[in-house]
Symmetry: C2
Subunit: 160 residues, 2 copies
DNA sequence: CTCTTTAGTCAAGCTTGATTGACTAACTAT
DNA sequence: ATAGTTAGTCAATCAAGCTTGACTAAAGAG
């Protein structure tokens, strides 16, 4: 065991962030697996579900959605098209602009989102059961603190 | 604001896991960006770096590495080939098997890993500075608790 | 000693998730 | 009214990250 490797092991042991990444990845995989098992949608891929967090209740225009996701409108178009085909999303005419349509959830889509969130919430409750209220409270408050800090920083960067 | 949507917003507010995912994603993106900025390796992609956590100091055989990552040995071969080309990894002859080679880090590779971990550690220290010792301690212990629990569960599943 | 299996390699091809370019219809500014 | 811009759409293309199949050399079983 040479010195270089020892340094690496030391750094790894201290890396809270690495543990955070791994935990997030494991939980995410677990969630995806569970949701897939209750609704075997062969045709809905990660790229599709990545749209969901960016679709507000009022709806959003294609170009704006693309801008928020940081990819081309053509790419988003195809994803939205698929989701409309599956009945998850719908396009309403934008009352204020004849060219544009407002992309929003259909009833079916909202039900699906609800089921997904419920699955996540169930996983969380299982963790509470296994690890106790206190640990999960600590996780919640500390993660939230980091979250808020990162958002404040991002805001500052955008202002500059 | 109809009832279905209100339920969704309620679920989201309670979802510690969603916040965890988002925080992990943001920090990860930040880390990748920083590391990329200090070492503009145009040719090393995420698929390559995903090998690193599975390569032990003693080295590992291609088939075993592929099994650990859950993908075909041919796919792993290409990635290893690229990394050997970049001087990050090297292949030693396996002393106990004439067919097999042990994939391990080169000196350059270990230096690169060290720099990556150091970057992560620096980000962590910045969080400590911004949020305080206490919050980061809470994050560390709670995330570690979840991590250990998930690993225990995975172990149990594998036993069954 | 032969037969089968296994480790690494090489080649071709596929799916996903994106891109760029072109086009139509609707809006906007002059 | 006309010229230029913008929103959505359609099509072709591309790179990443895999897969499957075929081959070789070494190892192991009978």
């Amino acid at each position: 065991m040479d010195d270089r490797w020892r340094t690496i092991e030391e750094l790894k042991r201290k890396a809270t962030l690495q543990v955070l990444f791994r935990v997030a990845r494991m939980l995410n995989e677990m969630g995806v697996k569970r949701i897939a098992s209750i609704a075997p949608n062969t045709s809905l891929r990660p790229a599709h579900t990545s749209l969901f967090p960016h679709i507000p209740h009022e709806g959003i225009r294609l170009v704006d959605l693309a801008a928020r996701m940081g990819i081309s409108k053509q790419a988003v178009f195809q994803l939205v098209e698929d989701l409309v085909g599956e009945g998850m999303l719908m396009r309403r005419q934008d009352p204020s602009d004849g060219r544009s349509k407002l992309i929003c959830f259909s009833d079916l889509g909202m039900e699906a989102i609800k089921r997904g969130l419920a699955t996540l919430s169930k996983m969380e409750q299982e963790l509470v059961l296994a690890l106790g209220d206190q640990v999960m409270d600590q996780l919640r408050t500390s993660v939230l603190a980091v979250h808020d800090h990162l958002n404040r920083q991002e805001y500052k960067v955008k202002q500059a």
